[in-house]
Amino acid sequence: MIYLIIPAVFIVLIILIYNGLIGKKNQVEYAFSSIDVMLKKRYDLIPNLVSTLQQMMEHEKDIFTSITELRTRAMSPSASNEERIDLNNQITRSLGSIMVAVENYPDIKSSSNFEQLQRSLNEVEEQISAARRTFNSAVTDFNNGIEMFPSSILANMMGYSRKEVLEIPQAERENPNVKDLFKS
């Protein structure tokens, strides 16, 4: 009897570990696709922002051209995941410099249209940040799974390797300073 039980327990254990690893891997993929969903929301806001501001801020024409171009490149299906993340970090920086530039245009700052747009952007930025943090948490979980004994043995056989967490851009680590945002 005991000769039957031991292998049975062993097999069940392997199945559990195997499924656990698959679950963790899928979690990482799901979390990554969630970042895409949030980034897509931001792509949708950019043309709106550009058209609202471009005419009133003629001196800043370059930023608008570059952000539009970055958006097009980030949205193109040929971009790899790494490229897309990198392009989006650039978009984050460009958006930041637009917001700084708006400081010189009190008319724009006080318009309700712009305020609404800024609110939507803040929301999307915070959602992107939340999605990145979710992704990093899933990656940490996955990495723990493939490096800890005994699941590490199985992970090795399945050819799984460590995944990299996303660098959180400096701007997202800081708390937004409301006084700066709504300074009039």
Partner: protein, 310 residues
């Protein structure tokens, strides 16, 4: 403290002294009456029984005869303290957060007995909030070997319960519990089983703030939204508010609202009966309790409305 409030306090102190006189006479009469009856039985047990019985009756009477004084104190002192914190806040001594709201937050098991009082509601700048004292209990019936059944009530939660408008929109549910390890070794094993049902609502969310993770366990029906609500700064703010409160706290985020339960082991906003109202620190104590409660809006930065919710 204003001179007007000083005047009110002196009036109330007169009320209190009259009450104390009345209660003392009642107590003496009761003791004489029951001891007299007990003495006629000529047994020491009867005398002790008589004394206990008189104190029991006295307890009931005290509650009844003090109610007028308590109501007067609450509406005049606590009421004006609330107004002094923010004129947009109103105080209702007899009302409370409803049992439905308490249950809807999904933080605790369904109570069998629910009481509450001292509701404060209104608006602090852009954030509307309501909070009250709440006492939720569970009925436990047990049968001993002789077949006698006894019923007792066990506290599920006692303290302040807040219902606050949150500054971000969201559609899923996220709940924060005091860390489970603490719960596991706590005395309410049975309650824990029932809590299991709540935990099924969503999955564990692992957050990157180590101190926060040590104090709390977060469950949510959506991992990303949980992190959208619990931004790094929100985690810090909740932690510091929790550290100021000294008791445990539970938080639920649902329907773009926030419910927060804060454990407090004393009956707040009650006037003293057997000691003077004119003690120097008395009023500032009530004021501190109230300010601590209303500070929640500032502490959690809920008036910051830079997202689409206005």
């Amino acid at each position: 403290m204003t001179s007007e409030m000083n005047e009110t306090l002196r009036e109330l102190e007169a009320l209190r002294q009259a009450l104390v006189k009345k209660l003392t006479i009642t107590l003496i009469v009761l003791i004489v009456l029951f001891s007299g009856v007990a003495l006629s039985f000529q047994s020491p047990f009867a005398i002790i029984g008589g004394l206990i019985f008189s104190f029991f009756i006295f307890g009931l009477l005290q509650k009844g005869s003090a109610s007028g004084y308590v109501a007067e104190f609450k509406s005049r002192i606590i009421g004006s303290l609330v107004k002094s914190i923010n004129t947009d806040l109103n105080y209702h001594p007899k009302r409370s957060i409803s049992e439905r709201e308490f249950e809807h937050a999904g933080l605790f098991q369904r109570p069998d007995r629910f009481k509450g009082e001292d509701l404060v509601e209104g608006q602090i700048e852009k954030t509307s909030l309501r909070f009250s004292e709440v006492h939720a209990e569970d009925r436990r019936t047990s049968t001993n070997s002789k077949g006698h059944t006894t019923t007792k009530y066990v506290t599920i939660f006692r303290g302040l319960f807040f219902q606050i408008d949150f500054h971000k929109n969201f559609s899923h549910e996220t709940r924060i519990f005091p860390d489970i390890a603490e719960n596991l070794f706590g005395k309410f094993g049975q309650a824990l089983q029932k809590m299991g049902d709540i935990f099924k609502k969503g999955e564990l969310v692992k957050l990157e703030n180590v101190h926060f993770e040590k104090e709390f366990a977060v469950y949510s029906t959506n991992q990303i939204e949980a992190r959208y609500i619990l931004s790094p700064s929100m985690m810090e703010r909740l932690l510091s508010y929790k550290n100021r409160s000294r008791g445990r706290i539970w938080v639920a985020f649902h329907d773009s609202q926030m419910s927060l339960a804060m454990e407090v082991n004393k009956n707040l906003f009650e006037p003293p009966i057997w000691s003077s109202l004119l003690k120097t620190d008395l009023i500032s104590e009530y004021q501190n309790d109230l300010e601590f409660a209303t500070d929640i809006v500032e502490e959690l930065n809920l008036n910051t409305r830079i997202w689409t919710k206005e």
